[in-house]
Symmetry: C2
Subunit: 418 residues, 2 copies
């Protein structure tokens, strides 16, 4: 079979599995998730040995050591994958929930019932543990999934897939509920993205290049985010100690992730007092400041910010800093440069807190808290399958519920339309 045939066959099998999955109750799904966890641990030696082939090939091919780290399945990573499945089993089942029901004047009772999306295509890069995380979340939400991982992890992913298939069929779940694309042919992605008759949703996870390729070539809806250019605005009414703590946490706690702060906006009335305090702790942690002219007046000798620093996602210990005339200028700057990901205000002013919450058009908007809380787990959604910064379907972090949709159910007693 060529790649096109392989992908079409997988999509058809996924569609068939989806019909079976939609009818499974929570007990059956949770049993399968726990069996998957056990199965992975039992097959740990085999999976690690297959993973060793990938790691060796990566070394031979001269991949950067950070990528090899992400590829490596240690006992710790194996245990975390199994634990992740157990945690998904413990989450409530979103499927079947009736989110509302009302009665029409003619007596028809109309409700909305939560159902799985159907078939999800998951396209990702190196980490093989994503294979397990995505399989667990899709299974719990009643969706079949087609997993296309990076070619550098192909042996690891196929070893994991064979374990999952076996445990699924033993647990009474359609074995094609979880399928790993068995080829490293990059054409497989293009083929998958054209199968809109069988696949309901595509989720890409990886670098911006991968995500743009998927978004531009897909006939299937895509939930994605390109980058996180997150802002913290320090208002003149802010508790400045709190503002320093929040900005430090937002920038330094994990600078390489999408919900880290990239630009700090400071009200001019507190710039003299706040900027030296903030600079002291940030620079002590190794943060490079890129400053607007007004900031430079308060922090002489630092690097001047250039236009390209405002829309930049540094993903590093670098921070753009701008002094603004007040809330309006901060809102304008955010509207111009934000990636609709996460923005925070530090303030003690009631009206400004409300305006910031109402007017900032980002998936998560916070008052007096770190941008680092934009995360499914931190916000209380349970395990997260990704963050979406397009506004359709789910804006922000996506948990199990975001892998479902609702249909209308209607109870009548013979009603016809006039």
């Amino acid at each position: 079979m060529n790649t096109a045939q392989i992908m079409l066959e997988m999509a058809k099998k996924a569609r068939t599995a989806a019909r079976g999955l939609a009818g499974l109750d929570r007990t059956a799904k949770d049993r399968a998730l726990l069996a998957m966890a056990e199965g992975l641990l039992e097959a740990s030696a085999h999976i690690k040995s297959e993973n060793g082939k990938d790691v060796e090939a990566a070394r031979k091919n001269g991949l950067p050591s950070a990528m090899i780290d992400r590829l490596l399945l240690t006992d710790k990573v194996m245990a975390e994958m199994a634990q992740g499945l157990r945690e998904v089993a413990a989450l409530p089942d979103p499927v079947g929930e009736v989110t509302g029901m009302w009665t029409r004047p003619n007596g028809l009772q109309v409700g909305r019932m939560r159902i799985p999306l159907g078939v999800i295509g998951f396209i990702y890069e190196s980490r093989p543990n994503v294979t397990v995380d995505a399989a667990g979340l899709c299974l719990k939400s009643g969706n079949a999934v087609i997993l296309k991982g990076g070619s550098e992890a192909i042996n690891s992913n196929l070893a994991i897939a064979s374990v999952l298939e076996k445990t699924l069929s033993q647990a009474g779940v359609p074995r094609t509920a979880v399928q790993v694309v068995p080829t490293t042919d990059r054409g497989a992605v293009t083929e998958l993205l054209a199968l809109d008759e069988y696949v309901d949703l595509i989720i890409p996870r990886g670098g911006e290049g991968l995500i743009r390729f998927v978004a531009e070539n897909s006939r299937i809806p895509v939930l994605k985010h390109y980058k996180g250019i997150c802002h913290v605005y320090v208002d003149d009414s802010a508790d400045l100690d709190m503002a320093v703590r929040i900005c430090f946490n937002a920038k330094v706690q994990r600078p390489g992730v999408c919900n880290a702060m990239e630009t700090m906006l400071v009200h001019q009335a507190v710039a003299d007092e706040f900027l030296p305090q903030a600079a002291e702790v940030l620079e002590k942690a190794g943060v490079e400041l890129r400053c607007c002219p007004e900031t430079l007046k308060r922090l002489p000798g630092r690097r001047q910010a250039r236009e390209e620093d405002w829309p930049a996602e540094f993903l590093d210990l670098i921070l753009a800093v701008k002094v603004v005339g007040g809330l309006d200028e901060a809102l304008d700057h955010i509207a111009a440069y934000s990636s609709k990901h996460t923005e925070a205000i530090v303030t003690s002013d009631y009206a400004r807190a409300r305006r910031f919450l109402a007017e900032v058009d980002s998936s998560v908007v916070l008052v007096n808290a770190s941008t680092r809380f934009n995360d499914g787990g931190q916000l209380g959604l349970g395990a997260e399958i990704g963050i979406n910064t397009s506004k359709l379907h789910a804006f922000g972090p996506m948990g199990l519920t975001e892998l479902t949709t609702t249909k209308f159910i209607v109870f009548g007693q013979g009603q016809i339309r006039d």
Copy 2:
């Protein structure tokens, strides 16, 4: 300016308008909607005269009379357009609703707030009244809209647009909240579909050709349905008089629309009794039956159904009829041929009603009621902007709420992440 520049400028203006619209309260939006209704009626003579140019051109170009009918703006249609705007003004405002709020262990209070999508591109064919309906629904939901109507209605649409722009700016709403594409260049659609940086959603309305073109060429999410191949399954436990009434209504009341029944499935145990009764009333209304072999045994002399009749959307007084062994076969047939639009069961059996509701994967699933109820107004959503049979964002009829999304709002008092 060439078409690409025109579309880019419109998209930028829409984006700017969207920021202003998002902050308008219900009073301001309703006032604008009522002003739009007044404005249209006051400018009625001018709009009808511009419409006359379109109608004359259509006659000259030999367009079918059904299309000319749809194009024609009579006093009655003008009054209906104005009334439609008043009804939208009377609907509740979805924007600002907090759909849930919870507190995390660290004290963070997390909620979801309903917000507009932003900018909507609406692509449709001949009816100029769609221009007004779409403008009203988008305005009420806080979205800016770019309207691309059919070239045969260009003078009508531009006349309507100039009235709307004037009334909007008088009512304090950004005048570029509603824009009509001023060119009949078909390239305008392709340009619009590429502006994913500015436009959040595309809704196409029209024939299958238009919708497929939009779906295949858009980088922006598209909510759409291609067709409605709707089934009614008559169970052996059905009240057969009710089944006849429901099937007659589903097929005959308005055969040319997407929620009309196209295939009737009949349990074999009641086929002898039900089929002659149903055939009598259906055929008296002019319905042509296309029958499976088992149906033909009970209704000799009718036309035999061919394979292509099962996936057909007749949109006419034609009905495919199939005798099935029971609910399982009915569910299999629906899974194979349905367009995920609307399916109904007529039954008095509790367990089968529940199974049908749970297992049929369509946007509206009904027990003992006509498929014709798949309609935003009939289901209680208020005015409808379309029906979506892809599962993302909104599955089924879409009202005002479906033109919004939710963002997370977070109230903290200094929380940082460990």
